[in-house]
C-alpha cells in the first residue's frame, strides 16, 4: 500500500500541475456561472416594460381600496378613472397599445363576472395581474349581504384540497429537495470521478507507450502500480469536485434564494458520495486493465472503444426510472453493476421511502463486481503493460486471464 500511495502521489502531482487540467478545472465552474448569470444579464439590457394604461369605470366606488391593493402587490398600472361612455373608451383601447379597460359595475357584482377589455398587444402578464382583483371583489359582494363578520369570513374562505398520500413510511410529506439535491450532488461527483477514471486508461496506455512501465515495475508490483493509479486519479477527481464546490457554492448561496446548503449537508449526501465512489472504483479498474493492453489510442479496436461507452450505460435507464422509479426496469438497472451507481442515484433521489433490501443487494453485487474487476484487471494489467509494439486483442486478454 505504501508503494501504491507513492504512485498515487505522483499521478496526482503530475496531473494537477498540468496546464490543461488547471484550465478545465476553472473553466467548468466559470461556464456554469456565465450560463447562470447570462439570462439575468440579458434581461437587464432589455428596457423595462412600460406600465399599461388601465381605464377604470368605477360605478361601485371600490377602486380606492382595490388600487391600494394593486399597488401593495408591486403591480405598476397607470390607472385613469373614467366616466366617459363605454364606446369611446373601447375605441381608445382598440387603437392604443398597452391599454386596458376594467368595468366595476352592478353586473359584475350580480353575476360575479368582471369585464376586462385589453388591446391585442397587451402582455400576457396583465391577465395574471388582473386576477388579484377577484378576491377583494368577492369580499365586496359578501359585504353587501350585511352578514356578521364571522359569517362573512366563513363564506369568504376558499375551499381547498388537502390530499395526503398514505405510504408505509410514517415520515410523510418529505420535501423532495432533501433527496434531490444530495442526489444531484452525488451525480456530479460520479460523473466527475468517472471522467477522471478515463484518465487512468490514458495513463496506463501512456506508460506503456513511453516504455516507463518496466522501470517502475522493477520497484513495485503491477497491482501496486494499478492501485496507485486508481487512487491518484480518484484524488484528482475529488479535488476537481472540491474546487467546483468552493467556487460554486458561495456563488449559488449569493445569487440564488434556494437554501442549497440546508439540503446539501444531510446524511443522504454521504451515502450518495459512497455510491459514487463505488462506481468510480468499478470503472477505474476496467479502464486500468484495458488501458494497459494498448499503446496507440488511434488504432483502438471496437472492443476498446466500447469500453469507453460503459460509464454511460445508466443513461439508457433515465426514461424508465424517471417515469417509474420503482418499476421493473429501474430494479434491473439497480442490480446491473455497470448501471447500478447511476440508477441508484436517480432512484434514491426520487423515492420518498428507500427500498433498503434492493439497495443492500445492489451494493453487494456492486462491491463483488469491483473485487472481481480489480482481480481481472490486475492480471491483464500485469501482462499487458509489458507487451510492446502492439495493441492486445480480446482473445489475448482472455488468454492472459488464464495465466
Amino acid at each position: 500500500m505504501r508503494n501504491s500511495m507513492k504512485v498515487a502521489k505522483w499521478e496526482f502531482k503530475k496531473n494537477v500541475k498540468n496546464k490543461s487540467f488547471i484550465i478545465s478545472l476553472l473553466i467548468t465552474p466559470l461556464m456554469f456561472i456565465i450560463f447562470y448569470s447570462l439570462p439575468n444579464l440579458l434581461d437587464s439590457f432589455e428596457s423595462e416594460p412600460e406600465a399599461p394604461t388601465v381605464y377604470i369605470q368605477d360605478d361601485l366606488q371600490i377602486w380606492e381600496s382595490m388600487g391600494a391593493l394593486v399597488e401593495a402587490q408591486g403591480i405598476e398600472w397607470d390607472t385613469e378613472i373614467t366616466s366617459e361612455n363605454q364606446e369611446s373608451i373601447l375605441d381608445e383601447v382598440q387603437n392604443n397599445e398597452n391599454t386596458a379597460y376594467i368595468v366595476f359595475d352592478e353586473q359584475a357584482l350580480e353575476e360575479g363576472l368582471l369585464t376586462v377589455y385589453t388591446n391585442e398587444s397587451m402582455e400576457g402578464e396583465f391577465s395574471q395581474e388582473v386576477n388579484i382583483l377577484l378576491q377583494p371583489l368577492q369580499q365586496f359582494r359578501i359585504s353587501q349581504l350585511e352578514l356578521s363578520d364571522e359569517e362573512a369570513a366563513y363564506i369568504a374562505r376558499d375551499i381547498s384540497i388537502n390530499q395526503t398520500e398514505m405510504s408505509q413510511n410514517t415520515d410523510e410529506g418529505t420535501d423532495p429537495m432533501t433527496r434531490l439535491v444530495p442526489g444531484i450532488f452525488g451525480g456530479v461527483i460520479l460523473f466527475s470521478i468517472v471522467m477522471t477514471g478515463m484518465m487512468v486508461f490514458q495513463s496506463a496506455s501512456q506508460e506503456k507507450k513511453e516504455k516507463v512501465a518496466e522501470i517502475i515495475l522493477s520497484s513495485l508490483k503491477p497491482t501496486e502500480l494499478m492501485q496507485g493509479k486508481i487512487i491518484g486519479y480518484f484524488a484528482v477527481g475529488m479535488s476537481q469536485v472540491l474546487v467546483w464546490v468552493i467556487i460554486l457554492l458561495p456563488f449559488l448561496l449569493w445569487k440564488s434564494d434556494f437554501p442549497i446548503a440546508e439540503y446539501l449537508f444531510v446524511p443522504e449526501t454521504l451515502f450518495f458520495v459512497f455510491i459514487s465512489i463505488l462506481g468510480y472504483l468499478l470503472f477505474a479498474a476496467i479502464f486500468a486493465g484495458i488501458g494497459a493492453t494498448f499503446e496507440d489510442v488511434d488504432t483502438t479496436s471496437n472492443f476498446q472503444g466500447f469500453v469507453f461507452m460503459l460509464p454511460f450505460v445508466p443513461l439508457l435507464f433515465i426514461g424508465p426510472v424517471l417515469s417509474d422509479p420503482s418499476g421493473i426496469i429501474a430494479q434491473i438497472g439497480t442490480y446491473f453493476p455497470l448501471s447500478s451507481p447511476g440508477v441508484l442515484l436517480m432512484r434514491l433521489s426520487m423515492l420518498d421511502s428507500w427500498p433498503w433490501v434492493e439497495i443492500g443487494i445492489s451494493l453487494a453485487i456492486l462491491i463483488a463486481s469491483i473485487w472481481i474487476c480489480m482481480k481481472l484487471a490486475g492480471k491483464i494489467f500485469s501482462i499487458g503493460i509489458l507487451i510492446y509494439g502492439k495493441n492486445a486483442s480480446l482473445k489475448e486478454m482472455v488468454k492472459w486471464l488464464k495465466y
Binding site: 513511453e210 516504455k211 522501470i215 522493477s218 520497484s219
Partner: protein
C-alpha cells in the same frame, strides 16, 4: 574470492508450451561486471526480468545476498531495461526524484546525486527540461542516472549502449567501470562485443534459452576461441579443409579464414603447411569474442567441436 551478490540457480520459464529459458545458473559478485550475452530472442530479457521480479520463473531460484525471490529488497537493485523510456511531459529532475522515491531513497540526497550525475554526463543545467527536448542519447543518460540514483548494490543494464554515439559510449563505459570499482555488482547485457571485452570480468552466453558459455573472459577465449588463420591466395575450400587441425573454413574471394582446433601450437602448425598452398598474405590471431558470438548465433560448428575438446 569476492562476496556473491546475486545467484541464479536452475531458472526456467515457459509461456504456454514454449520454453523460453531452461536451467540458467550463474552468479554475480560484488564489484564485478558479468556480461550476459546471446543473440536476439535467446532469453536474456526473460532471465533479467526473472531476476528483477517482473516475471516469476517456473523453476529454479534467484537469491540476492542469501534472500530468496519475494524477500529481495527491490531498493537494492538498479535496472535499466532494454525497452525503456521516460515520461515525456515531466521535468528530468521530477522523474529522477520519483524513481528515487520508489526505491525509498532520501529526496535530498537523490537531488544532490542527480545534479552530480547530470553534470558528470554533460547535462548540467538541464534538470528542468523535459525528455521531449532531448536527443535519444541524452535521454539514455537520464535513464542511466535514474537506474543508479539510489546507489544500488546490484545494477542490471540491458543494452545500455544501444543508440549511443562513440563519445557517449565511452562516458557510459567509464561510469560503469567506476560503479564496479566502488563495489556494485553489475549484470550487463550488450551486443557490442568489443565493449564487453573491454568492460567485463566474466561472461555468460545464452542461446535458445540455454547456457552455452560461462566463465572468465580469458578462459572463455582460451577454451572456445582458439586461433584463426587468415590467408590470402588462390586456394579451394576443399584443399584448405584437408589441412590438419582445421575446424572450419570460410572463404570470401581470395581471402580464407581457417578456424583452428583448440590445442594447436601456432608455430608448429605453420611449419607443417604444405608448399602447394598459395600464400600471398598470412596472419594468425586469437578468435575474438565477436566471432565466438557469431559462431553461436549462426550455429556454426566451432563451439561444438571445441566443446568436445573441452
Amino acid at each position: 574470492m569476492t562476496a556473491e551478490t546475486l545467484r541464479v540457480e536452475g531458472v526456467g520459464k515457459s509461456f504456454k508450451d514454449k520454453r523460453i529459458i531452461k536451467d540458467i545458473s550463474f552468479e554475480v559478485r560484488k564489484g564485478e561486471i558479468l556480461a550476459i550475452l546471446g543473440p536476439n530472442g535467446a532469453g536474456k530479457s526473460t532471465t533479467i526480468r526473472s531476476i528483477v521480479g517482473i516475471m516469476y520463473p517456473d523453476e529454479g531460484s534467484v537469491t540476492y545476498q542469501g534472500m530468496k525471490t519475494g524477500e529481495i529488497p527491490k531498493n537494492k537493485i538498479g535496472y535499466l531495461p532494454e525497452e525503456r523510456g521516460l515520461y515525456k511531459k515531466v521535468s528530468i529532475m521530477d522523474i529522477i526524484l520519483y524513481f528515487a522515491e520508489l526505491k525509498d531513497y532520501p529526496k535530498k540526497k537523490a537531488r544532490e546525486r542527480a545534479l552530480y550525475y547530470l553534470k558528470k554526463l554533460g547535462l548540467e543545467g538541464k534538470e528542468k527540461s523535459t525528455i521531449e527536448e532531448f536527443s535519444k542519447g541524452m535521454g539514455q543518460k537520464v535513464q542511466f542516472i535514474a537506474s543508479i540514483i539510489h546507489e544500488p548494490e546490484l545494477l542490471i543494464l540491458d543494452e545500455p549502449f544501444s543508440g549511443l554515439d562513440p563519445v557517449s559510449q565511452d562516458v557510459m563505459k567509464n561510469e560503469i567501470k567506476e560503479l564496479a570499482k566502488a563495489g556494485t555488482a553489475i549484470l550487463l547485457s550488450a551486443h557490442q562485443m568489443n565493449v564487453v571485452e573491454e568492460l567485463c570480468d566474466r561472461l555468460f552466453m545464452i542461446h535458445r534459452g540455454e547456457k552455452v558459455v560461462y566463465g572468465k573472459l580469458d578462459e572463455v577465449k582460451a577454451q572456445f576461441g582458439s586461433y584463426k588463420c587468415t590467408l590470402r591466395g588462390q586456394n579451394t575450400i576443399a584443399s584448405l579443409e584437408k589441412l590438419p587441425q582445421v575446424n572450419r573454413v570460410e572463404q570470401n574471394g581470395e581471402t580464407s579464414a581457417l578456424y583452428l582446433q583448440q590445442d594447436i601450437n601456432p608455430a608448429k602448425w605453420l611449419r607443417q603447411l604444405p608448399e602447394t598452398i598459395n600464400i600471398q598474405e598470412l596472419s594468425i590471431s586469437r578468435t575474438s569474442l565477436h566471432e565466438i558470438f557469431i559462431d553461436i548465433a549462426t550455429d556454426k560448428n566451432l563451439l561444438e567441436r571445441n566443446d568436445q575438446h573441452a
